[in-house]
């Protein structure tokens, strides 16, 4: 039994890892809509893309975003494979330095009903098609929400991001998307760190009070200076001749 335990942990951790990657990464090859998890209490919106040689946007479905509503919205992505036709087209677009665009509808992640979720309009973003090709369809999509859970923007970048003009084997590399997906709610900006500063001030004053040198009274500390000053004053007074009186007489 004791020998089995490490193995169990290993299994659990692999499963866990798999789950983790699943929640962040998309899985591929499934058709949209045919495998929507029923227990996943979210809703789906289409992720659309467009790449045309003449750069007139014609959006088609690339995959589906499964959005899970709640305090901490999470997102899953189901994506289609690129068809043969699309692959050639993408390469053509890349050759003329066209754009690869994506769009998602504006949604409200925290609403309970489907009708409240969707809003008019889309959010769009783009990368250069050549970067998409040369990175072998590995991209990173970020969905930005605002404080109340409205989707405000979408960003897409490819990794690597440069276009160097390298040849790409379409059969192997341009079939499946390798996408990383994030949802970014706004971060809370920090205020001035007063509490910490006050704490530090208190600590210092405490330290000061602990120090016996500091605890002495004013006179105890500086008696020699005061004494010296007094002696000096007296000395200077007695040394002074009664000049004032003399002047008055003259």
């Amino acid at each position: 039994m004791a020998r089995l335990l490490p193995f169990n942990i290993a299994v659990v951790s692999t499963v866990f890892l798999f789950v983790c990657t699943k929640s962040v990464c998309c899985n591929n090859g499934r058709r949209v809509g045919d495998a929507l998890d029923t227990e996943f209490s979210g809703f789906s919106v289409p992720l659309e893309h467009s790449f045309e040689v003449d750069d007139v946007a014609k959006f088609r479905v690339r995959g589906a975003l499964l959005l899970k509503a709640g305090r901490e919205p999470s997102v899953l992505l189901n994506q289609n494979q690129l068809s043969e036709e699309d692959r050639t087209k993408l390469k053509e677009v890349a050759a003329v330095d066209g754009l690869y665009r994506i769009q998602v509808p504006r949604v409200f992640l925290l609403a309970d009903r489907q009708t409240e979720r969707q809003m008019e309009g889309y959010l769009t973003a783009f990368v250069r098609a050549c970067a998409m090709v040369e990175s072998h369809l590995s991209d990173s999509i970020t969905l930005h929400t605002d404080v109340s859970g409205y989707l405000i923007g979408v960003s897409i970048v490819t990794l690597p991001g440069a276009c160097r003009g390298t040849e790409v084997e379409d059969e192997v590399d341009l079939e499946v998307f390798n996408t990383t997906l994030h949802v970014m709610p706004p971060v809370n900006a920090t205020g001035p760190g007063t509490a910490w500063f006050i704490e530090r001030m208190e600590q210092e004053s405490e330290k000061k009070s602990k120090n016996p040198q500091e605890q002495k009274s004013f006179f105890a500390k500086y008696w020699y200076l005061i004494l010296g000053g007094a002696i000096f004053l007296m000395a200077s007074n007695s040394a002074q001749p009664p000049a004032g009186g003399g002047r008055e007489q003259s």
């Binding site: 769009t124 783009f126 405000i152 205020g191």
Partner: protein
């Protein structure tokens, strides 16, 4: 630990640059100009014959006294901005000036001699209608204030309320005017539009209603616009529909008597609403029986009411402006009539007879670059021979005040338009003639070796000549006392100085008047009034060609956009001389959404201005073939963004080769939650010298220097102090990628933002702690650069590291800007305009998110200051010492030719110009630098080496012989 702190403190003190000026430097590098704004009411101080004051109450909520001899301010009081401090009425009696301020909120009395406050009382609430002085038996002791629902009487001596009475039927009757003729009664005149006039008469003594009458007047809707009280309390009104005068004796209840103007033999100009001008020289006596009737834009009649009969004293046609003035017992009428295109004449007429007074002609020369006269303010006085003399202050459409004396000598001019500067630019001055000559040599095409040599020789000779002349001038000036040396700057001798410290300030004011101001002295070198500017225009000033491209003249373009319709016009001009350029700007028929200045230049070195209209079509200015060709080549790399704050939409576009555009990204901020208040990019002329920061361990932290980065500031629509927040979003303007999205909770605007280099600084109001706070965001790429040679927004896959820190600031602020220098080597300071009138130069060092909380060896190595939550305000950081700048609305910074020096202009009600040295003057020798000592030491050393060399040689020779 303690020692460390002490060490740190010492370090801070040593590090903190001291920017204070020395006493002898006051006014040497800086100047301030104080303004009052567009004049609403004015009174000449007449209670003393020798007085030389004119009192002005202005639209900028300023009450001021101006010296009529020089045009300078005696004193000035600036009230709160906006409706709260607006001056509704201004009454003057003797030494007292009574003001009603803030829609009848406050009644104030000022002593006009010294500008001190006599008293101030808060009035009961209610919207203000009218006020007048109330006198009895030649004694003025009270002031009456009429509000929407009540009338009150106050003592002039201490402001105490004598009585207050509610107005009868104030929910239906619109009371508009209060009048007193000095007979112990106060008349409140109200109107029920298109029905009748109501007159309520109160007794001055106890506020008892003496009489209340109402008279049918179905044609009347506004008393103030069409009526006036003349003679012994006769309400005279003019009706444009029937073209007739109506009269009503306020003392006896009667019908209004109608006198058709045709019976007098006059007709009103079609479409013009006639108006009446009457005068009441002494509030304790009834008004004069003479009054003006304006029948057309340039047609006035001087009429007299004589026993109920109207007598025409004189017909003024053409007459642009008229005004009454009284001195002693004499009342005169000043009439301005056009003479020719550039001048008009003023004449005085006796009000009683309408006869022209002898030797009272005054010629007013109109500025061809100014506006038309709008208002006359006449100061009449009695000469020794008892005849009437006068001076006149003419107010023109461009808010200029010109004070003129007979026969047309301008005593002073005040450009009050400068109290409302909207935007400005600083332009380098052109080269001198000789420098230009030399420059021109390179510009021309080569035509033979010999001629080139000759040309070079001749230009060198000219330079030599200029140098000798310069030396001679220096020598000549040195012999004269310093005060006599005059360096008058005129538009002819303008030229760039050695370090490019003197520039031309091009200022655009809300009135539509443009100014060219010399930055060294503050003197106005040119002015140009643009008439036909819509009242709610937005301005954008663009420098299309600088002075660097001789012989092409510099060129500025002003984009004037009507905020309602979105329609825009362009005004192209030479920023040095102010002259309108011969280049014809394109006429735009579509509303303009965005204007972009591109770094592209046409063959004449003018930068290309792109204008995006509401069809998302782009037009270029200048649009020569060359430019269009360049645009086609560059189109795919030209991106721009549009902001629609009504819909919360930010969208990015790319230019196509056919100058159409395509939408490439879109970010939508829901307007139900927050609204976009400002979008700030970086300044295009900004240079960053160092790519990174050296850390304590000698590694480099690279800055994220994205020139396309935008800082978008949003404010929550919910203003509850617990739920309100402000948002800061950093977006790339090309790709629309959001790098950072943060909210500052429990915060509220107004937010001031500065965005520069790799940092964004913003200031907001913390609703929970009730204080102002600063926050700084800095962006870093990390320990290594992604691509160190070139920056492209399209190829930066890694998001930058974001660091943020916040601080408490002990004051609210009214404007903020960062210093700017030529090469960006000098450390940066933030220039903060405070409501107190100070301009604070806060080192950016204090706003650094890497300020540590605990000291360590590496931190000390890096020169970081320990974190303290509060930002200090040190008095030596005020760059304007005691020269307070009222109501700062903007701060403009410009680099100079010296890397250490940044030119600063703060504008608001006042204008203040100075120089700042954020890292002290590291590239300038001090004024008291000892040239003698250093040169004598040098010479001594030189001779010492010569002598010792010689001695050594002798010694060597001797040794060799031995």
């Amino acid at each position: 630990m303690e020692k460390l702190i002490v060490l740190c403190l010492k370090f801070i003190i040593l590090c903190g640059t001291v920017d204070a000026v020395f006493e002898d430097q006051v006014g040497k590098f800086d100047w301030r100009q104080q303004y009052v704004g567009k004049v609403r009411f004015s009174h000449f101080d007449t209670h003393m014959q020798s007085s030389k004051k004119v009192l002005l109450a202005t639209e900028n909520n300023v009450f001021a006294a101006i010296n009529t001899r020089t045009g300078e301010l005696f004193w000035r009081h600036v009230d709160k901005a906006g409706q709260e401090g607006s001056i509704d009425a201004f009454l003057q009696h003797g030494q007292d000036a009574v003001l009603v301020v803030g829609d009848g909120r406050v009644l104030r009395s000022w002593d006009i001699n010294i500008g001190g406050l006599n008293w101030e009382i808060v009035l009961d609430s209610g919207s203000f209608q009218s006020a007048c002085l109330v006198g009895q038996q030649d004694n003025v002791k009270h002031v009456a204030v009429l509000k929407k629902t009540a009338i009150s009487l106050h003592y002039l001596s201490n402001g105490h309320q004598k009585w207050i009475e509610n107005l009868p039927e104030s929910d239906t009757v619109d009371y508009q005017v209060v009048y007193s003729g000095g007979n112990g009664e106060v008349y409140a005149l109200g109107v029920v539009p298109h029905s009748h006039i109501t007159i309520v008469v109160y007794s001055v003594e106890d506020g008892e209603v003496v009489k209340q009458i109402s008279v049918e007047a179905p044609w009347l809707s506004d008393i103030q616009a069409s009526c006036a009280v003349v003679d012994q309390g006769i309400l005279t009104c003019v009706d444009s529909a029937t073209v007739s005068l109506y009269m009503l004796d306020l003392h006896v209840q009667s019908q209004m008597t109608q006198i058709p103007l045709q019976s007098l033999g006059f007709e009103a100009a079609p479409g013009f609403h006639p108006a009446l001008v009457s005068t009441q020289p002494n509030p304790a006596r009834p008004p004069l029986s003479e009054f003006f009737l304006q029948l057309g834009p340039e047609h006035y009649l001087l009429l007299q009411l004589n026993n109920g009969q109207i007598v025409t004293l004189r017909d003024f046609k053409p007459a642009m402006l008229v005004s009454f003035a009284t001195t002693g017992e004499k009342t005169v009428a000043a009439v301005m009539s056009p003479k020719n295109k550039t001048a008009s004449t003023l004449n005085l007429f006796s009000a009683e007879t309408g006869r022209r007074l002898l030797d009272t002609t005054l010629i007013f020369n109109m500025d061809p670059y100014g506006g038309k006269p709008e208002k006359l303010h006449v100061q009449a006085f009695l000469k020794k021979d008892d005849s009437v003399g006068y001076r006149v202050m003419v107010q023109t459409e461009d808010h200029t005040l010109t004070f003129i004396q007979q026969p047309g000598r301008v005593i002073w001019t005040r450009e009050e338009a400068l109290s409302d500067v909207v935007t400005m630019e600083m332009v380098d001055l052109p080269l001198t003639g000789t420098q230009a000559e030399l420059e021109g040599e390179f510009g021309k095409k080569a035509d033979g070796l010999f001629s080139m040599v000759l040309k070079r020789l001749s230009s060198q000779f000219i330079l030599l000549q200029a140098w000798v002349a310069h030396l001679w001038k220096l020598f000549y000036d040195a012999r004269q006392p310093r005060s006599q040396v005059k360096n008058d700057v005129t538009i002819e001798n303008l030229s760039r100085d050695e370090f490019n410290l003197q520039k031309m300030m091009v200022m655009v004011t809300a009135s539509g008047k443009l100014f060219g101001i010399d930055s060294k002295t503050g003197s106005i070198l040119w002015r140009h009034y643009l008439d036909d500017i819509p009242s709610n225009a937005a301005f954008k000033l663009i420098v299309q060609r600088t002075t660097a491209h001789f012989p092409h003249p510099p060129q500025c373009t002003l984009l004037i956009k009507d905020k309602d319709t979105g329609l825009a016009t362009l005004h192209v001009f030479n920023p040095i001389f102010g002259k309108k350029s011969h280049v014809t700007p394109p006429t735009m028929t579509q509303p303009i959404l965005q204007s972009i200045i591109l770094p592209l230049m046409d063959q004449d070195y003018a930068k290309v201005l792109l204008l995006v209209d509401d069809q998302y079509k782009v037009s270029a200015f200048p649009s020569t073939k060359n430019v269009l060709q360049q645009l086609q080549d560059m189109a795919s790399s030209i991106y721009f963004f549009l902001v629609d704050s009504d819909q919360g939409r930010l969208s990015g576009y790319r230019l196509r080769t056919d100058l159409s555009t395509e939408l490439i990204w879109e970010v939508v901020v829901p307007t139900e939650v927050q609204r976009i208040v400002s979008v700030k990019g970086k300044r295009p002329n900004e240079h960053v010298h160092s790519q990174g920061r050296v850390m304590g361990d000698r590694s480099v932290l690279y800055k994220y220097l994205n020139p396309n980065l935008l800082a978008v500031v949003t404010e929550s629509t919910d203003l509850h102090q617990e739920r309100s927040f402000i948002g800061i979003t950093l977006i790339d303007g090309v790709t629309g990628r959001i790098f950072h999205n943060a909210v500052q909770r429990k915060a509220r605007g107004p937010v001031h933002v500065v965005h520069s280099e790799n940092w964004v600084v913003y200031e907001y109001w913390n609703t929970k702690s009730r204080r102002n706070e600063f926050s700084v965001i800095e962006l870093y790429e990390g320990m290594e650069l992604y691509n160190s040679t070139v920056f492209s927004s399209l190829d930066r896959p890694h998001a930058p590291q974001v660091l943020q820190q916040s601080y408490i600031f002990p004051s609210s602020i009214s404007a903020m800007e960062a210093t700017l220098t030529e090469k960006g080597i000098t450390s940066r300071h933030l220039l903060i305009g405070l409501p107190s009138g100070g301009i604070l130069s806060l080192p950016k060092m204090f706003l650094d998110p890497r300020r540590p909380e605990i000291v360590s060896e590496q931190i000390r190595e890096e020169n970081l200051i320990l974190y303290a939550p509060e930002l200090p305000i040190r008095t030596e950081w005020f760059i304007n010492y005691n020269q307070s700048v009222s109501g700062v609305r903007g701060i403009y910074t410009a680099p100079s030719g010296l890397e250490s020096t940044c030119l600063v202009v703060a504008y608001g009600l006042d204008i203040y110009q100075t120089r700042v040295y954020p890292s002290k003057q590291f590239d300038v020798l001090k004024d008291d630098y000892d040239y003698m000592l250093i040169s004598s030491v040098l010479f001594a050393l030189f001779f010492a080496t010569m002598i010792s060399k010689r001695l050594a040689e002798v010694k060597l020779l001797n040794r060799a012989w031995r």
